[in-house]
Amino acid sequence: MAEKVLMKGNEAIAYAAINCGCDGYFGYPITPQSEVMETLMKEKPWETTGMVVLQAESETSSINMVYGGACCGKKVMTSSSSPGISLMCEGLSYLAGAELPCLVVNVMRGGPGLGTIQPSQGDYYQATKAGGHGDYRMIVLAPASAQDMYDFVDLGFELAFKYRIPAMILGDGVIGQMMEKVEIRPAKARRTEEEIRALCDSWATIGKPAHRGGNTITSLALEADVQERHNIHLQKKYAEIEANEARYSTYKTEDAEHLIVAFGCMSRIGEAVVDYAREQGYKVGLLRPITLFPYPTAAVEALIPQLKSIMSVELNAGQMVSDLKVIANGRVPVNFYGRQGGMIPDPEEVFEAFVKSINK
């Protein structure tokens, strides 16, 4: 039987990175995610797998180190929390523009500004609609457990390389700080130089062999028609991702008349609300988007005919709810309940809000 270890979500990120053959981590300390780099430094993977771990001088530098590493076809990553991710958004735009694979972990805290170090989901828009400039998307995975934090590192790298796109694990202070049982997966070796060359020689900056000209990684295209062609190419790729990679889970939706939609830690609370509401005689189900981009639009769409209401439950002022309203398009009322500033609702509180929302 696979080993099961008690660990924080943040620690799970670090152990998974070492275990799945990550080549490099570049980061800057910020609460509530500093355990990621602390764990890596403690484990010294450069002595075992050869993974590079570096504390950079800033988040700006971290994401640009990721850019440099990604240019080399390496599996590279960083992690931060909301204010640090804002600093990285410039770099993410460049990574997206240059079509580079990488993994970025955001353990969200409350904002705006320096805000609070307590949990939040206030960066949903930033993650799913592009926090940086220029009409790009990232693959966004929303973990709801320490096991998800662990598993999404490998999944994030797989998807990032499959589509040559930045992938983000959008966690929060609850998922980062909470300890749970984590099953350690079979280890993957780091890719060899030969494997990287076989996989990435057509684009990566790994040294120009005699048989080809120099590769250039850039996001620059001064001519409008060239840039437009590139934009259309990117949008095609995003459409392909939307068609193929949406992930979600459901809980008691078969006969549900009311749907709670929640991601990350709030989906855990959402499950408790479903159980509690069913005890009170309400036919409630839960849909948990696992990917926030691509959004599981078809899964929501399929449930709409049986629904009398949808309620989005978020740790923010209402962000994902706007995506649900677009999907529902007036066919079913879409309600919202959220807490902000690091406050976390308990299941009873959400249930009361649900009852109020369907009786208004």
């Binding site: 080549d23 490099g24 570049f26 590079v52 570096l54 950079a56 001088e57 800033s58 700006t60 530098s61 971290s62 640009n64 180190m65 990721v66 850019y67 440099g68 590493g69 240019c71 080399c72 390496k74 590279v76 410039e90 770099g91 460049y94 240059a98 990566a204 900056t205 790994i206 040294g207 120009k208 062999p209 005699a210 000209g213 120099g214 590769n215 250039t216 990684i217 850039t218 996001s219 620059l220």
Partner: protein, 253 residues
């Protein structure tokens, strides 16, 4: 010798290095970039490291350096080239990694990245083109613009009380323990070109010796930005820039 003799291979006295592509340079006539590009290309050819060299180009006039040297290139966000180079060299220690940055890129927006890469002693080469002005955006003040120098954003000349002082970033870099070789050169005549090439060669050789960062500043002209002719620009540089930015090695260990 008639033309047939002249073109015989055995009579060849100079050839363009194949590391330099045949692309027409977009740089203005008289610009120093073309010369420095050629020197880097020649060093790469002479060291036989074309397949092992990764360049990182900046934002500024030399953003398009990747169009001219036939090697693998990364093009960085403004000022961030040393961060890219850091990761690239650490992930591929057997490669020669260099950044090519102007004064706006390196000494203004990218000060944190260059300071910390040099302080960590990354085994990379930094080529720093200092022409005391922003070329690509149309001749605005750079951190290295001299006092009194007229630019698009200091139309009455740079004033210390309004604009601060010209920054001697290379002197700062030389103070950092992580650097092994810090030098300031120029390329306005054949002798200085030869000295700069030697400096670039030494910098590239250092990067495989695990000694730390090698930093080569090239004091350069921007006759378009300076609104003068190439010949006058060289003279202006010698008379005004060299006294403030004196040439020579600051550190070599």
């Amino acid at each position: 010798m008639d033309i047939k003799d002249i073109i015989k291979p055995e009579n060849k006295v100079y050839g363009k290095t194949p590391v330099l592509k045949d692309a027409v340079l977009h740089y203005c006539p008289g610009c120093s970039h073309g010369v420095v590009h050629k020197l880097i290309a020649e060093v790469i050819e002479e060291m036989g490291i074309q397949d092992k060299t990764i360049g990182v180009s900046p934002v500024g006039c030399s953003v398009f350096a990747y169009n001219y040297l036939d090697i693998d290139w990364q093009q960085a966000a403004h000022g961030r080239a040393p961060a890219l180079a850091t990761a690239t060299k650490r992930l591929m220690p057997d490669k020669y990694v260099f950044t090519y940055q102007g004064d706006g890129d390196l000494a203004s927006i990218g000060t944190a990245e260059i300071m910390h890469a040099c302080n960590r002693g990354e085994n990379i080469v930094v080529i720093f083109i200092n022409n005391a002005i922003y070329g690509m955006t149309g001749g605005q003040m750079a951190p290295t613009t001299l006092l009194g120098q007229v630019t698009a954003t200091t139309p009455y000349g740079r004033r210390a009380d309004l604009n601060g002082y010209p920054m001697k970033i290379t002197e700062l870099i030389a103070q950092l323990e992580g650097t092994c070789y810090v030098t300031r050169q120029s390329v306005q005549n054949p002798a200085s070109v030869r000295r700069t090439k030697k400096a670039i060669r030494k910098a590239f050789e250092n990067s495989m010796m695990n000694k730390g960062t090698s930093f080569v500043e090239v004091v350069s002209t921007c006759n378009s930005g300076w609104k003068t002719t190439p010949v006058k620009a060289n003279k202006w540089m010698e008379e005004n820039m060299f006294p403030f930015y004196p040439l020579g090695d600051m550190k070599d260990r």
